[in-house]
């Protein structure tokens, strides 16, 4: 085989069974990558099971900042039998397959580029299959130009709480993997040339769930009650892990109904609460969402979307819950919906969700998805510590009335025992003092008061992030986690007549939306769902209709190649 050269952008896919330690490979590799001076992006896709099946992780390493998923596979490493069949369409003639002869499917053996390594034999010598991930780590770290020392150090750190034997065996596995790849490189089979940059070395590597968790901490979250549900649970465990340090009350509720009602009780008593859930759990929260509207309570709700209806595909991704976030909850009351595109949006918008919820006394929903939650990339910390948690409650006096009519509909929010006032909140229609009422006039005024808040909320909407050309003929719209993939695709298309608008606030819709879109000749929308929910909503709000819809709903995120091809197709269709 001739020497293989990979330049500046490389995608490695490692495929194995649940339980083989793919996650540690992913995390250790991305840390090693940035300490070597590379940018890194990872995405893991997995089945809803604890052992067996087939899971994989994509690790993308580049000289430039990369934040999205690609179909292309430069290096494919199967870690067990049956690890290849799901990648049939993606393993190309250019792909380098590295693995044990018994893990490589017959169909690839003649015509493809394969580097055989005797994984099984080595594992046997080391005393078991459990060290396969460490061996792979040693192997790739060398390819990436890590020093042996730094590979060893990372492994030591990772396993520091385990017994000596386990540490030693893992070290041995790393060493063996490292030496194996030295041989391959020396035999000149391989050459990876990715330009290094110093400035990534001080970066963070952030998963989506960590971004939401960090944003919550920065927003002053001190109470989280939730019920485990993929793919949203990472936020819950992240806050639990940091609960002692930051003074956060963490409680696993008996169900989602309890979770959100606890959250509302917490805000009432002066806490700053959030719940994290997925579509099914959110459905159970609908009545309490409406309660938040009625009692004018702040509330922050994170929904990590996965494909529905019902249980759907628990570990997969979709953007199918925008309309349920928009319309869920009976009655009429204001709300705000955010959908972070990249990890930085995740931090900023979650932080902002707490402040907006408190300021406007209304629920704020943050929509992410499995792709956002379980992907990671390097980034700088952009001064997150400068984000302030703003508190809007006030000291009350003995004349205090919780629902006092004010010009903008926002009454001062008091909390029990903070001042002399009495704080009454009521899910029944109520008067200014919070007493139940059936007076038609009061009812009408209260409805107006609640709806009125929307005017202030609308003044603070966030415009979509714009990339591509300023003088565009074609406008591409996307929202939430599609952002980075769409932006990379549009950069790759490299035309000077196309712009991309990535919405991070979905509701209320940015008031300049119509102006941005109507100057384009052709409008394209990209959504990870089947019915173009956001496109439908934009049409409803602005009357503007999309000419072309790029939709995906098989449970996987869009890839850069897919969006590139679909946009090119749409442009040809003139």
């Amino acid at each position: 085989m001739n020497s293989i050269q990979l330049n500046n952008d490389m995608s490695i896919v490692i495929s194995g069974e649940a339980g083989q330690g793919l996650q540690s490979i992913e995390q250790i590799m991305s840390n090693l990558a940035i300490s070597s001076g590379y940018n890194v992006f990872t995405y893991s896709e997995f089945m809803s099971r604890i052992r067996g099946g087939n899971n994989s992780t994509e690790i993308r390493i580049s000289s430039k900042r990369i934040t999205s998923y690609v179909d292309r596979i430069d290096i494919f490493i199967p870690m067990c039998k049956g690890a290849m069949f799901r990648f049939k369409g993606r393993i190309a003639k250019e792909t380098i397959i590295i693995g044990d002869v018994s893990h490589i499917d017959e169909m690839y053996k003649d015509a493809y580029r394969i580097i055989y390594i005797p994984l099984l034999k080595i594992m046997k010598e080391l005393g078991g299959n459990t060290y396969i991930n460490s061996l792979i780590i040693g192997f790739i770290s060398n390819l990436l130009g890590s020093t042996f020392d730094s590979a060893i150090k990372t492994i030591e750190k990772r396993f520091k709480n385990f017994g000596e034997e386990i540490i030693n065996n893992n070290m041995e596995a790393v060493k063996t993997g490292f030496e194996l790849s030295c041989e391959i490189i020396e035999a000149d089979k391989f050459c990876i040339q990715i330009e290094k940059t110093e400035d990534v070395k001080n970066n963070l590597i952030l998963y989506g769930y960590e971004a939401i968790g960090l944003g919550a901490i920065a927003g002053g979250c001190n109470f989280i009650s939730s019920y485990p549900m993929s793919p949203s649970t990472g936020v819950f465990t992240f806050l639990a892990k940091n609960a002692e340090t930051f003074g956060i009350i963490v409680e696993q509720a008996e169900d989602e109904i309890s979770a959100i009602n606890m959250g509302l009780g917490a805000w009432y008593a002066g806490g700053r609460a959030m719940v994290t859930t997925s579509g099914g759990g959110f459905a159970l929260m609908a009545e309490a969402l409406s309660l938040a509207g009625a009692i004018e309570s702040p509330m922050v709700i994170h929904i990590g979307q996965r494909p529905g209806p019902a249980t759907g595909m628990p570990t997969r991704t979709e953007q199918g819950d925008f309309l349920t976030a928009l319309y869920s909850g009976h009655g009429e009351f204001p709300r705000i919906i955010f959908a972070p595109g990249d990890k930085e949006d995740g931090i900023r918008l979650t932080h902002q969700a707490f402040n907006m919820a408190d300021k406007f006394q209304t629920p704020v929903i943050i929509l992410t998805d499995q792709y956002f939650m379980d992907s990671s990339n390097n980034m700088n910390d952009f001064g997150i510590t400068g984000l302030k948690a703003e508190k809007y409650f006030e000291i009350t006096d003995d004349k205090y009335a919780r629902y006092k009519f004010m010009g903008n509909g926002i009454s001062p929010r008091g909390i029990p025992d903070h001042g002399r006032g009495i704080v009454r909140v009521d899910s029944d229609e109520h008067d200014e003092n919070g007493y139940l009422t059936e007076d038609f006039n009061v009812r009408k005024n209260m409805v107006n008061k609640r709806i009125k808040k929307m005017e202030s909320i609308k003044q603070e909407t966030i415009p979509p992030a714009q990339s591509g050309s300023n003088h565009y003929k074609y406008a591409v719209v996307c929202w939430g986690s599609v952002r980075n993939t769409a932006e990379e695709a549009i950069a790759a298309i490299a035309r000077n007549d196309i712009a991309c608008f990535s919405f991070t606030q979905l509701y209320p819709l940015y008031n300049g939306t119509a102006d941005l879109l109507k100057s384009a000749e052709k409008l394209i929308i990209i959504e990870n769902n089947a019915t173009s929910q956001f496109g439908t909503f934009i049409k409803q709000e602005t009357g503007i209709e999309f000419d072309h819809k790029i939709l995906k709903y098989n449970g996987m995120p869009f890839s850069v190649e897919e969006i590139t091809a679909e946009i090119n197709k749409a442009l040809l269709k003139e």
Partner: protein
């Protein structure tokens, strides 16, 4: 002597004349006054139903939430500000039916709150359907040939879960009920006070006369520390015992487990994000 908890306005009370809710209301007003709770420090949390309207007629902070959901709210209020006295107050349908799951788990969590259930064995507000505590044979507009399901036994369930404090009272017995409530509110941990309450409009089976004839008070020979004996009393159904069935102080209240109160008792609303610690977390995440 004036009672700060007396309603400040002359409210139009939504209960039927003769309803047991009136007595419970008076009992609660007296209890609160006798306990000398600071008005600002009391929070009443209720669900929805006739009983759940009680806080409307008391001059107090309240959170009148959703049907069935008083206990999660009350738990969170107490945990965000342990200085507050928190009382969840609702009907049997609300607490044991719609909120049944929360009832079980609130007992397990054991927050230091008092849960008062106006147990009229019927759905009052929705006009007389059976409730989880309706007796077998109870006929209503929906249960036309009578209830056939086994009645829910809140006391037995609570005792089986090692609830911190379990009592039953009767709305017509003011003196005894005030005594029980005072002990319950002062008790640290989850206190259940199930109060038999005649519904004169929709429950023609369990009337004032029926309660008089079918209840008796536990005497001094009953030891509330004895779980097995308490359970035996809870499952008696020839005549229903009244009084304190069971107390258990082995379990710490929920709030006491929370690490947030390890070094400080400050309620959550007084606290701020420690940005130094956030900076440190970011630094540590980098070193990963």
């Amino acid at each position: 002597m004036s009672n700060v908890f007396e309603p400040e306005v002359d409210t139009d009370i939504a209960w039927c004349p003769g309803c047991g809710n009136f007595s419970i209301h008076q009992i609660l007003l007296k209890t609160l006054s006798e306990l000398k709770i600071k008005q600002q420090k009391l929070v009443l949390v209720s669900g929805i139903g006739q009983a759940a309207k009680t806080p409307q007629y008391i001059n107090s902070n309240y959170f009148n939430g959703l049907h069935g959901r008083a206990l999660p709210v009350a738990t969170a209020v107490k945990s965000c500000n342990p200085e507050l006295t928190v009382i969840a107050i609702s009907g049997d349908g609300c607490v044991y039916g719609e909120g049944g799951n929360h009832f079980i788990h609130a007992i397990r969590r054991n927050p230091d709150i008092t849960c008062i259930v106006h147990n009229n064995m019927v759905y009052g507000l929705t006009k007389g359907q059976a409730s989880p505590t309706s007796r077998k044979g109870f006929i209503s507009s929906l249960q036309i040939s009578g209830v056939y399901s086994e009645p829910f036994n809140p006391l037995a369930v609570a005792i089986s879960l090692n609830a911190s404090f379990v009592a039953r009272a009767y709305s017509a017995d003011e003196k005894q009920t005030i005594e029980v409530l005072k002990i319950a509110i002062k008790h640290r941990g989850f206190s259940l006070v199930d109060i038999f309450q005649p519904c004169v409009s929709f429950n023609k089976l369990n009337t004032y006369k029926w309660y008089k004839e079918n209840t008796y008070y536990l005497d001094d020979s009953h030891d509330p520390g004895n779980k097995v004996e308490a359970f035996k009393k809870a499952v008696e159904n020839e005549k229903y015992p009244l009084g304190i069935f069971y107390t258990n102080t082995d379990n710490l209240p929920f709030e006491k487990h929370l690490p947030v109160y390890k070094d400080s008792n400050e309620p959550m609303y007084k606290r701020n994000v420690d940005s130094d610690k956030l900076a440190e977390l970011m630094k540590n995440m980098k070193k990963n």
